[in-house]
Amino acid sequence: MHSRYILVVILILSYSVGFSQRRSYKPPKKDFLGSFDDSQWWIGLHGGINVAKALPLKSYAIVEPITGGFVANKDYEGFRRIGVQAGARLDFNFHTNFSTSFQPTYTNMNYGYKVNYQWTGQDNNTLDLQYNHRLTLNYLEMPLMFRFDILRQQLKPYVQGGIGYGLLLKADKYIEIESRDAASGATNPIQNDSPIIGAKNLFINSQFMWYVGGGFSYDAGNLRLGAELNYKQGLNNITNRQNRYSDQRMIGMLDALDDMTLQNITMEFYCVFPMKFLQTSSFRRVKP
């Protein structure tokens, strides 16, 4: 597993070193990317926040109703819980209005669902329990975006889309149980927390996603600042089907994960620097 991360780091560094060499102006030399003047590389950092939601594909349950019982369905939350993401980005502006962007990102996503249970008995004995399940997934994402600048000016609105691969680094599960326990004499809801459960085995490592979004960039001299809003949708089931019932603590908490994909809305800011200059003495950058 570590070898994968090392490979990724080497790859990113090799790109960075290869394209961060400043050079003085030379006569245009055509290659498959065009001449030197036709394109610009940008490198920088980005970060922001996101909200996530799970989209269940197929439902699974541990609690099975017998005569008189009821089905306890999972009630998935909307885009409610906030996560964060940060990473590097390497943009290649290969045409006046078109760019590609590779953005290795550490993404933290949070989402959840609720399940309600109710028991009734004689002498007004009742117990209502609400299990609030919250999942935190941390991915190393490697999206490749294609961007179109709508206007060519200092403040550029743009739209973009792309595909990406995510490698799961860490997954945790939290369960908060809210009870209305009239049988024990409670008149108000009581909240209990369970320990954090390491849940990485419950998910597979890989996730492919597609992206769509847009934003604005602002050229401040040789610095480009930007803000963008993206929607991201997983393309595959992330639940590990072989391990669905492997965690005994989850069974005690009456939970088996559904097959699911993730949906995510990200809002982020970035700052990138050009890599190609026409004159290094004046830092006059190439403007394709």
Binding site: Y15, P65, I66, G69, F70, L127, I204, N240, R241, R244
Partner: protein, 405 residues
Amino acid sequence: MNKFWINILLLSSLLLYACDISKNKEVKPEEVFVKIYENNQFDRSFTPLDIKQTPDGGYLILGEYTGSAFSPYPAVYLMKTQADGRFEWEYLAQDNYVTPISELLPTADGSSYEFFCSAQTDSLKPVRLSAVQTPEQLAKYNIIRTLTANKLADGNYGFVAYSQNSQYTTVAKGNASGGVLNSKQYYNQDNTFIEERIDRHLRRIRTPLPMLMGSRGGNDLFFTAFRLSNITVMSDDLSANGSEPKGIINGNSYDAAISAMVNISGNTFAMARYNADGENVFITRAEVAPNGTYTNTSFKGNILPELSKFARVIIKKATIAQRNVLLYFTDTKNGQMVLFIYDETTGALIKTRYFGSSNTFQAGNLTLTLDGGLAVVGKTYVAGRFGRICLFKLTAKELEALVKP
């Protein structure tokens, strides 16, 4: 530009290496599942005692439930599930049939199952019922307050009973139609403590007494009886003369006992016992001669302090991945069910597997399944308080992994 393409190649290789999506194949729902059967009623508690797989791939679970209005004893409960664990039907005895006293036994033609329970309105005499949605009474036997029953190697049925205030353990053999073929009584010399213990056993107020009944070759049976204020295991031929058993394993009080015993071959048995302090000992190979006299503590084995005190232990012989093994199934002090797998030949432990966590889980029983997997039934306390039946199904692959050293 060669470097560019090399990097692209490296990146692609990395993605392919990391990608486990193609391996994440759909698992058939009947291959692996966990179910907890819930009826949302506050006042009912269910305890499973045995599980068998039916020809349609589903599971038949025999158990008992408390909270019935008609009896101080737990009433008979039967449940049938589909192959993937989904609930199919249940039977809750509403009168008379209480306290199951046997496992699910195959019928004479092997097509279905039957079991024994006690007739509450008739001195707790044993009745044999068909294990179907509406059980039919197949036979009743005139043996008062029967504590256990089992099918014997010759197709007849063996019973152990203790009539109230009689001071005698009665052991009998009956035929399929309800006739008692022969019986024998063994004197206990105690009429005080044993009555309380048996009453608590029948009402499940304390851990049930470990009542055994089985064949050990020829006409000899082995069974649990009460003698000199001890829980003993006797070996005897009921047709032989005399009031003394041929062989005996003496206990040292009503608190120490042989809790499970399965014949491996000849005089070799797999056993479990608990001491007077409730701690458990597994003896995976014990030599018990039919006419020998022993005490519980004659049999040395592995002391397992993690197990529940006075634990109910299930021992089954099995062949898994061409390996003959012994399955010891019980529960732990921290509320998990646990399966110990021992090599039948050497008696060495191969692996353990735990079931359940967070809420308490108690062992019910287990059975090998038609697909080479394992089904394990137990009792769990949902939300820490509601006694419910839970069913775990392991795949053949998971089970085979458990017998590999």
